[in-house]
């Protein structure tokens, strides 16, 4: 029981760091440019497909992964320059509709190019297999690597944002973009950079998770909606909020699915507990969100509305 708990806790943390990689770009883009991007999940999906293709073409996981990142960045930049830059001054509704249209276009294009059936990416030899953790559980090396890389990126991002001049601009832009632009900084260029960075992080998340999950059209959407939950809980524009909320959502979701039925057995019969547990588990993160918003309508680290 305890070892299963640790196993699922690690799985939850792993989902959490992936969520953070997707949510980081989303929350900065929204915080700085007031731009709501429904297509952010598509960048995650494209990252996974690019990785699948590039790993297959080069025959080497590491080269494929390293090439997928700039490719995802380039894809994001092209979208920003050709489409999104026309939408900054439009209403949120227009942004939702246009990026929703983009989701349809990207999803169908992916089906056209790669087909509808899922792809799989072979795990690199160096990271296959599992190791004993805490002396009681075997945990896959690759998943540990995802967690470590995720934390490393989170720390890197936090350092960038909290310690550098560019990060200072980012924070200032996220809390008051009009002021930053009045002080003479080119907020549009700042945004292009942030957007490219966000696209690359989302694409990278898709790429590193490819060997663990199947790569399929529509994989971006479940991630996008969870990422929305994350940035709403964390408070829009806050990287720290996104990080904590991502871990919280990842852990609550994973533990809820595996232990919800067990916990419910305290009050229900086993069969009723397993049915109710299965029904409640996917809703847990939304209940969590509702709870947080009831107490703090702008999220944990959100600005006052």
């Amino acid at each position: 029981m305890t070892s299963l708990f640790f196993l699922q806790l690690l799985n939850g943390i792993q989902l959490g760091v992936l969520l953070f990689l997707v949510a980081a770009g989303l929350t900065l883009i929204f915080g700085i440019m007031d731009f709501i991007n429904i297509a952010h999940g598509a960048l995650y999906m494209v990252g996974a497909y690019l990785a699948a293709t590039l790993v297959a073409v080069t025959g080497n996981f590491w080269i494929g992964l390293m090439l997928a990142m700039p490719a995802a960045l380039l894809f994001g930049l092209v979208l920003e320059v050709t489409l999104f830059s026309r939408l900054y001054h439009r209403s949120h509704l227009d942004q939702v509709l246009a990026t929703f249209g983009l989701v349809m276009i990207v999803n169908e294009s992916v089906r056209l190019i790669w087909g509808a059936s899922p792809l799989s990416v072979p795990m690199p030899d160096a990271l296959s297999g599992s190791v004993p953790l805490f002396g009681m559980i075997q945990y896959p090396v690759y998943r540990i690597a995802i967690i470590l890389v995720g934390f490393a990126i989170a720390i890197g991002l936090a350092t960038l944002i909290n310690r550098t001049r560019a990060g200072m601009l980012l924070r200032a832009g996220a809390s008051n973009s009009a002021m930053v632009s009045a002080l003479g900084f080119n907020i549009k260029r700042l945004f292009t950079v942030v957007f490219a960075l966000g696209a690359m992080l989302a694409g990278f998340a898709g790429a590193i998770v490819a060997p663990v999950l199947s790569v399929h059209p529509g994989m971006g959407e479940s991630m996008l909606i969870l990422a929305f939950v994350v940035i709403v809980i964390g408070g829009i524009g806050s990287i720290r909020g996104a990080f904590l909320a991502a871990l919280l959502v990842g852990v609550v979701d994973t533990l809820g699915r595996s232990f919800g039925p067990v916990l419910l057995q305290w009050v229900l019969t086993p069969s009723a507990a397993s049915t109710t547990g299965r029904m409640l588990a996917p809703m847990l993160v939304y209940l969590l969100m509702a709870l947080v918003l009831t107490v703090r309508p702008t999220g944990l680290f959100g600005r006052k509305a």
């Binding site: 929204f30 007031d34 709501i36 429904i38 489409l83 026309r86 439009r90 949120h92 509704l93 227009d94 939702v96 509709l97 246009a98 929703f100 249209g101 983009l102 989701v103 349809m104 276009i105 999803n107 169908e108 294009s109 089906r111 056209l112 959407e221 909606i225 929305f228 939950v229 940035i231 709403v232 829009i236 049915t275 299965r278 029904m279 588990a281 996917p282 809703m283 939304y286 209940l287 969100m289 509702a290 918003l293 009831t294 309508p297 702008t298 509305a305």
Partner: protein, 331 residues
């Protein structure tokens, strides 16, 4: 421009809108006859579907066009309506009226609870929260294995009206849907021009001012949100009957997005625009899907083009054309 001229123009716009409404409803009334004469009675079902989505689009326009609340979870209500049919008929209640009552109670209750939480927030938070609540409802029905879970559930037949199986006829079903669309349209028209509707629209325009003159917008917005949800649930009852099949796919956020597209394409805040939008989007889907299984690609491109180049939708386009005609016709 003088007050008199403004008045006469808005009166002219109102008259042209009533004219457009009569025209659309007259065309819809003769559709079954036309498609039967054209030798394709199957199209009656396609057009029933259009009527159903027109009802849903009108309801979304109430909350979004008049209330200013952009929701990405509206399709959940269609699902509530559809599942009200599936669940009640499984337990022997096949009467259309009772099923609609069940649908309204379910959707209204869900809207009251989630709306009360969502309305604590503004703008983009509201969009995301409605999206999340919609997904919550979606996952609830996905995990409801007694009713087919992910795969959905087939109905043994259409609902009955006072014990008779009238609805089994596609043509009768079509006219029932058309009558309901007419009722929903008239009801919504009355609602938006009532005091309630004006407070709602006033809140959309300037919340602070409404508060300053003594209104508490929260109650109005919540009631508007719930009424719209109930109307969408009625569309869901009809959709279950039209397809004789119910699945969680009815409530996915893609469906909510499609409803947004219908309203915006037709013209927000015009009610009739939702009807026009439903007609255009569904005919476009039908048309594109005969060309290619990748028709969503085409729909996405059309959507992008409309947002970028004609933000006020078809109604705006029509108004611009009509407005030009009026100006030219005037001495």
């Amino acid at each position: 421009m003088s007050v008199a001229a403004t008045l006469s123009m808005s009166r002219g716009r109102l008259a042209s809108r009533t004219g457009a409404a009569w025209m659309i409803f007259a065309l819809l009334a003769v559709t079954p006859a036309v498609v039967t004469l054209a030798g394709d009675p199957y199209l009656t079902l396609t057009f029933s579907r259009i009527l159903i989505f027109a009802i849903a689009a009108i309801s979304l326009d109430l909350v979004m066009g008049y209330g200013g609340l952009v929701t990405l979870g509206h399709a959940a209500n269609i699902g509530f309506g559809a599942y009200a049919v599936a669940v009640l008929s499984r337990h022997g209640i096949t009467d259309l009226g009772l099923q609609m009552l069940g649908a309204i109670v379910l959707a209204g209750g869900f809207a009251a609870v989630t709306g009360a939480i969502a309305l604590r927030t503004r703008a983009v938070y509201f969009i995301m929260i409605t999206l999340a609540f919609g997904q919550m409802a979606y996952f609830f029905f996905v995990s409801l294995s007694a009713y087919g879970g992910d795969d959905g559930v087939a109905l043994s037949g259409r609902s009955t009206i006072f014990g008779s199986a009238l609805l089994e006829s596609d043509v009768v079903f079509y006219y029932v849907a058309l009558a309901l669309l007419g009722l929903v349209y008239l009801f919504s028209l009355r609602l938006v021009s009532s005091r309630f509707g004006r407070v709602l629209t006033g809140t959309r325009e300037d919340r602070l001012r409404m508060q300053a003159i003594g209104f508490r917008p929260f109650g109005y917005q919540l009631l508007g949100f719930a009424i719209a949800s109930c109307i969408a649930a009625i569309a869901g009852v009809l959709l279950a009957n039209q397809t004789e099949f119910v699945s969680p796919a009815y409530m996915s956020w893609h469906r909510s997005g499609e409803l947004l597209v219908m309203v915006v394409l037709g013209g927000m805040g015009t009610l009739l625009g939702g009807v026009a939008g439903a007609i255009v989007v569904l005919l476009l889907e039908e048309g594109l899907s005969t060309f290619s299984s990748h028709w969503l690609l085409g729909l996405g491109v059309v959507l992008l083009a409309v947002v970028l180049f004609s933000p006020s939708g078809l109604a705006g386009l029509a108004q611009r054309l009509v407005g030009r005609g009026e100006r030219e016709g005037r001495p």
